[in-house]
């Protein structure tokens, strides 16, 4: 599977590590080369410095032939824009994006984007912990 991931924070790097270890071809994009310190030393894929909202950067990352695009930068709006470019312009078969704001997540999932709100999920998990 060919995967492009945008945003190399803890989550992006962790996901990269898992997918890479499973033998997938992973390209990870971040604005700051310093972020790539999170990547495992034996990373087999490509780390690309650039703005993932830029079509040329996405093309360089191989988005035109990617099976999956995941966007996990810190900005909800950046994530939403990148996910829509991947889905509607490059027609990547599977696009997943992180949205912190639960209201925005609801709206965009109703518009057909595959979105995850860590805020909602984590609050729910905490609630369950308190219960037990």
């Amino acid at each position: 599977m060919k995967v492009v991931i945008m945003g190399c924070g803890r989550v992006g790097a962790q996901l990269t590590k898992i997918l890479d270890a499973e033998g997938n071809s992973v390209t990870i994009i971040d604005l700051d080369a310093y972020s790539f310190r999170w990547l495992p030393p034996n990373f087999q894929g490509t780390a690309l410095v650039g703005n993932g909202l830029d079509r040329e950067v996405l093309k360089k990352a191989g988005i035109e032939t990617a099976d999956v695009f995941v966007v996990v930068t810190q900005g909800d709006n950046r994530n939403l824009m990148a996910a829509q470019i991947a889905k509607h312009i490059f027609h990547v078969p599977k696009v997943v994006c992180r949205i912190y704001d639960p209201l925005r997540q609801e709206l965009y999932s109703s518009l057909g984007l595959e979105t995850i709100s860590p805020t909602t999920i984590f609050a729910q998990m905490l609630r369950e912990k308190i219960e037990s």
Binding site: D54, N77, D101, R104
Partner: protein, 220 residues
């Protein structure tokens, strides 16, 4: 009209001022408290502090009854999301997004934004108009049909000077609309019209034929 402006930077501020003086009802949403204060001091209580992408803020200012939302923050992605939230959550009829990266104009339109304004492109076109040697200027885009209104200058050294229009091999999809020669009145060209030095030709063409048209008119 009730118009909502997202972003109280320079563009948002002057835009709001102009819209108010035209008698529109305007609310401006700005995150920075001190920008908000300046706007409210100068323009009256028109500025609400908050994030223009957030449903709660947009609901509070009555986006549901807005005729238009214009997003002109400094970040393209924020403008996109503001417009999309307004459109899909509040059914605002017209959304306008400011665009910094000219590439994003096409992307935003594909994603359903009604109107995009790229300040970079506007400035570039103005510069091209002012530079006398620049052979082709875009005057207007007729978006639905992918047509453009362009102006092409004919320099004195062009091979086409002294030739009639019918002698030129103009591309099929292009139409000459007007020829302006220095101080004379503009003329609608016929096939017998002769090209003269320093003519300015106004033509309608599809975007992909514009280079071919320029070359044909200037004999390049």
């Amino acid at each position: 009209m009730y118009i909502i402006v997202i972003g109280g930077g320079r563009v948002g501020y002057y835009l709001t001022k102009a819209l108010l003086s035209e008698g529109h009802e305007v609310v401006i949403v700005e995150q920075n408290a001190s920008h908000c204060k300046v706007i409210n001091d100068e323009l009256g209580g028109v500025c609400i502090r908050g994030d223009g992408c957030e449903t709660a803020i947009l609901a509070e200012i009555g986006t549901g009854r807005a005729d238009m939302l214009i997003a002109v923050t400094g970040d393209d992605e924020d403008n996109l999301v503001s417009c999309q939230v307004a459109k899909h959550k509040f059914n605002v009829a017209r959304t306008v997004a400011g665009v910094r990266n000219p590439q994003n104009e096409a992307i935003f339109r594909q994603l359903g934004i009604d109107v995009t304004v790229s300040s970079t492109n506007v400035i570039l076109e103005r510069i091209k108009e002012e530079v006398p040697t620049h052979p082709l200027t875009h005057l207007l885009t007729i978006r639905d049909q992918g047509l453009e209104l362009v102006e092409i200058k004919i320099p004195a050294e062009s091979k086409t000077v002294g030739k009639q229009i019918k002698e030129l091999s103009l591309p099929e999809g292009a139409r000459l609309a007007l020829i302006i020669h220095q101080s004379q009145r503009p003329k609608m060209p016929s096939s017998e019209t002769t090209i003269r030095a320093e003519d300015r030709v106004i033509a309608i063409t599809s975007a992909d034929l514009e280079e071919e048209l320029r070359a044909a008119l200037r004999g390049e």
